[in-house]
Each structure stands twice: as structure tokens, then as C-alpha cells.
């Protein structure tokens, strides 16, 4: 199981748990584990909605750097 999913992964996994539960594919034995995982995923999704990790200083440094656009494209791709 992925313990550090990005939001798309977290969201997709959450949806699949919901549909499993909805279609009654989950037994009472598994339920507790699944609900625990879902709570974890929901927490991650909510965190993604309410936080951001970008660093202004880094962007400024990169903007000032002499790297020209072509280099940046090569590095980026």
C-alpha cells in the first residue's frame, strides 16, 4: 500500500474503497481496516486542499539564474 500517495492517487483509492463498500464487496472482517485506510486517505486529500509547499525564494533564485530557456526545457523534459 502506498503510504505517501499524491492527491490523484489518494482520491482514486478513496473512490475505489467507496465503490467496494457500496457494492457490498467488503466483509465485516475487512471493514475496520478499510475504514482506517479511507480515513487516512481523506486526511491526505484534505491536507492537499489546505496546504501548499512552494518556496518563493527558490522560484526567485531560478528566475535570476542565467539558465536560458532551452536549457530549462531540456532539464525539464
Amino acid at each position: 500500500m502506498n503510504d505517501n500517495p499524491n492527491y490523484t492517487e489518494a482520491f482514486d483509492e478513496l473512490q475505489s474503497i467507496v465503490s467496494e463498500i457500496e457494492q457490498g464487496e467488503i466483509s465485516v472482517d475487512e471493514l475496520s481496516e478499510k475504514v482506517k485506510r479511507a480515513a487516512f486517505l481523506i486526511k491526505i486529500c484534505k491536507q492537499k486542499l489546505t496546504s501548499t509547499e512552494e518556496d518563493v525564494d527558490r522560484i526567485l533564485r531560478e528566475l535570476d539564474s542565467t539558465t536560458n530557456e532551452n536549457d530549462a526545457q531540456q532539464n525539464g523534459s
Binding site: Y7, I21, L49, T52, G76
Partner: protein, 478 residues
Amino acid sequence: MRQTSKILTMPEIVNDKTVFSLLEVTKSIQKTLADRYKSAYWVKAEMNKLNYYSHSGHCYPELVEKANGKVIAQIKSILWKDDFINVNNNFLNVLKEPLKDGIKILFHAKISFDPAYGLSLRIMDIDPGYTLGDLEKEKQETIRRLKSEGIFDRNKTLQIPTLPKRIAIISVETSKGYADFLKVLETNSWSYKFFHFLFPSLLQGDRATVSIKNQLKRIKKVREHFDVVAIIRGGGGDIGLSCYNNYELAREIALFPIPVITGIGHVTNETVVEMISFSNAITPTKIAEYLLQKFHNFSVPVQKAEAKIRDKSNRLLSDEKTKFGSEIKLFRSVTENILISNRNQIKENINSLVQQTRFRFKNEKDYLRAGRDEIKKGTFKFGTSEKQKITQFGLIMKKDVLFQINQAKSAMNNIEKNIDNMNPESVLKRGYSITMSNGKAIKNVEDIKEGNALETIVFEGRIFSLVKSSKKQKNNER
């Protein structure tokens, strides 16, 4: 200047030459031109530069005609302050653009020559409709070129991240649109958090084209840090937006590697940039709402999922509980039924056992009774016959016994006679005696020793003696 034309001068003769002063020549030219070009004319040309002087309020437009990129005609022109104000207002009304550099114009002008300032066209009016058509032509040309290059929809086909949270903003820091945008983003009541970074740029007028392009270049350099570019122009009415029909700018945006969202905020004709952008919002506020909506699209299903999971889990548990409860009930009733039926069975079995036992007992009793009677009868019969047999035996025995007794009696009588003959007394009478030692008849002479006392029985008496000697007689001595 007009007053100078009223001064009439004459040429002077110098060294037989008729010499004109410069003023006389230019005046002549002025007069000739004035006579030749009496009325005003409609002229079309490209206005290279407007050359507006804010201090005087007059303009001195540079007019050219080009063929294949080369200037084939050019002339200075004058647009007086009052005429400029009128024309500019017409332009603003009709084109939503002020009078500006680099547009084609159709103008009403008089040819004017001034001795001091030379030849120029004095523009009295400019037809905004002509320029409008020209601008529209430019816009259509931009659209046609982008389409023919196959990039008109390029930016729209990009994938916007599920949560477009990092926004490169092209705007003016002090503009109302920028403030509105940030306010909606940052005070959203769901605590959604965005990261934004301002790339300041002019947003209207001719210079906006280059300014926006430069900022797009800068954003490209750090594009890994951003999910989306927002071009935000707010306030300032809907003037000076034809720059957004510029081919170079539109191309740059169409080919931009991340989605570009526009909030240019005007209501009339949509510009090319707005058409080709990933998404176009009418106002900066709408862009912010668009981005918030993206967050909602993610958040609402998450919340729904949360509710669904809670709901379904509870239902699942309660269903199981109900199922379990009814199983228990069923189990109880089934076991009760089994117990009852077993109990009944046992009761029946008891009854049947009792009945059968009774029946069997009765049978056995009857059988025994019959047996007993039989035995009794048999015994009686047997007894009777045995009794008869015994009686017969008795009789036979009696007879036999009597017979035997009689026989024995007669034998006895014979024996008695013999015995009588054998009687020791008779023997004694006949002279025999019996010698005894210690009360016993002597049968072996070796038992007698010298000195032993002997008793000798004789007829009608006894002799007592002592042994003098004894001697064993040899067999052949007899």
C-alpha cells in the same frame, strides 16, 4: 500661420537675375497648392506613429504606404488638439481602442503647405469604421494563421491538474482585478490553500503584447513550480484590448506548456487570446471561482466519500447485527422446536414403551401362567403315575422282601445249626482251650516270652499260669 499668407511680397532684381526670397517661393508654393487642392480629400494610409504631444495636445502622425514591406510613400500630418479629442472619442466608442500607432486609417484631410513647416496633411477626421474593419481583419488573420498551424486549440488540450493550486499570475500589482482575484482565493470559506506568484505586466495597449510575452518567457523558466497561468486584467474598462488579437502573443499562449486562464474582463468581442486560452473567465473573480470550483470538484467527492463510508459502514454493521439477531432467534426457535419435538417423541416413546411393556408383561404372565398350569397338571399327572408306580414297586418290593426274608430265615436256620456246632463252648466241651496273654488270644508263639502270665479258657472255667519256656514248632515237625 494663416496671417503670414496675407503678406504679399515682390521679387527683387539682383545682377539681372530675378531673385525670390525663400518666403516668396514657399508662399508661391502655398498659393499654388491652395489653388490646386481646394477641397478636402479622403485618404487611406497606415499611421506608423501617432506622435501625440501631451503638453500641447496636438498630434503629428507619421503616415506611410507600404508595398511588400517597403515604404513607397510617406508624409507628415497634423491632427490638432480639438480634432484629436473628437477622433479619439469616436475610436473609443466604436473600436474600444484609442487612436494609436500602427493602425490603418481612412482620414479626411486637406493638403497644407506652410512656409515655416513645409508640406503636411491636415487631418480633420478619421473614420473609425475603416480601422475597425482593419483590426477585425487582423484578428481574423491571427485566427486563420493559428488554425492553419494547427495550434488554435493547443492550450485547451492540456491537462489541468486536479488541484490547480500553484498559480503564476500575470497582472498589475495595484489593479483592482488582481486584488479581487486574491481576495476570492484567499478568503475562501473552505480553507483551500493556493500558492500564487505575480509576474507584473502591462495588460492593455500596444506595449502589453511584448510585456506579457516577456513574463510568459519568465514563467516558462520556472514552470515546474506552477500548475496554471492566470492573465488577470481588472478595471480600466474595455479599452486597448486589440493587443490580445496579436498573432505573436496568441501563438505564445497557444503553445504555452501549462494551461493559461484569462480574466481580461471585457464584455464585447472575445479576443483571440481569450478564444485560445485553456479557459476564459469574464472577470478575475470568475477565474478565482473557477479554480475554487476545481478544488470543490475534488473536495466534494471526498466529503461524499467520507459520508458514504460512514453511512455504509454503519449500515453494514447494523445489517450484520440484525442478521445475527435473527439468526439467533431462528436458532432459538429451531432448537426449541427440536427440543419440543424430541420431548414429544420421548413422551410418545415412553407411552409406547409402557404400553408395550404392559402388553409384554401380560403376555409373559399369561405364558407363565399357562406354563405353571401345564407344570402343575403335568406334575400332578406325573405324581399320580409315579405314585402308582411306587405303590406297585412297594407291592413288588414287599413281596420280594418277604420272599427274601423267608429265604434268609431258612438260610439262617441252617447257619444257626452250623454256628451252633462252631460255638467255642461246644468246642471247649470237646476239650479244646483258648490261651490268652494280656486279654488277647495268642496266635503267634514268638509273642510269648518267659515269665509272661497266661490265661487259659476251658469248658466251664479258667486257668492262670506263668510261662516256663516257649518254642516255635517247625512246619515239617507237625
